[in-house]
Symmetry: C2
Subunit: 142 residues, 2 copies
Amino acid sequence: MEPRISLITLGVKDLERSLRFYRDGLGFPTTWKPEKGVIFFQTNGVCLALYPYEHLAKDVSDSFLVERARFSGITLAHNVRLKEDVDRVLQQAAAAGAEIEKPAQDAFWGGYSGYFSDPDGYLWEVAWGAFEIRDDGSLIIP
Amino acid sequence: MEPRISLITLGVKDLERSLRFYRDGLGFPTTWKPEKGVIFFQTNGVCLALYPYEHLAKDVSDSFLVERARFSGITLAHNVRLKEDVDRVLQQAAAAGAEIEKPAQDAFWGGYSGYFSDPDGYLWEVAWGAFEIRDDGSLIIP
């Protein structure tokens, strides 16, 4: 197995609402067309996909067709090159309809970060510090 | 905001158990040292991180410190270059202690895939088909 995550799929309640948030609000490029039931975004390194929640649960097996809890246990992070980008990205997300769950603040690990949640409550950390970022956007882990 | 996911963090119950699963079982490279409370894996494009569940919930805010449901709403996918790699990777995961939630099978979208869950129940799809894979492992979205 290569050490690689190819795709992250979020099970969403309303595909159109999530499309507006990620494509129009955050500016993620997509090849999506109305006849497609799944939406893929061409992000760097890993693709983000959106799929109706019930369909995604059932794609694993019927036993996963249950309500989500407030916390999924998973956070996605968007790391930025400049400290001031944290505030800028959080503002962009808020303008797109995100909930700011944690305003940007100095973090105990020496960086600066905040969290927003997307229309389904999926959590994104916007963070600066601790990692070097390559030109292609990928992180060099410390 | 660049269209980019930098990091995926899984909140885990037992860091040592998860370390054994991902480092020893799946073979993901890490720079982790025993004095570090968070484990980063150098995967291609996006980093995978493991962090104690309660710490991760509280890093967002205390209101997220709740039990997870059986389904997080999120799936990670590992896409492979050859159809027979799906069975090979699922076997490797099972040998590392994963639960096979869906045995490899032909998928309605024309590919071949199955799901395993990691020691905390996080779901990974192992899939072949539908996507072209670049030399660096990233997908070209259809």
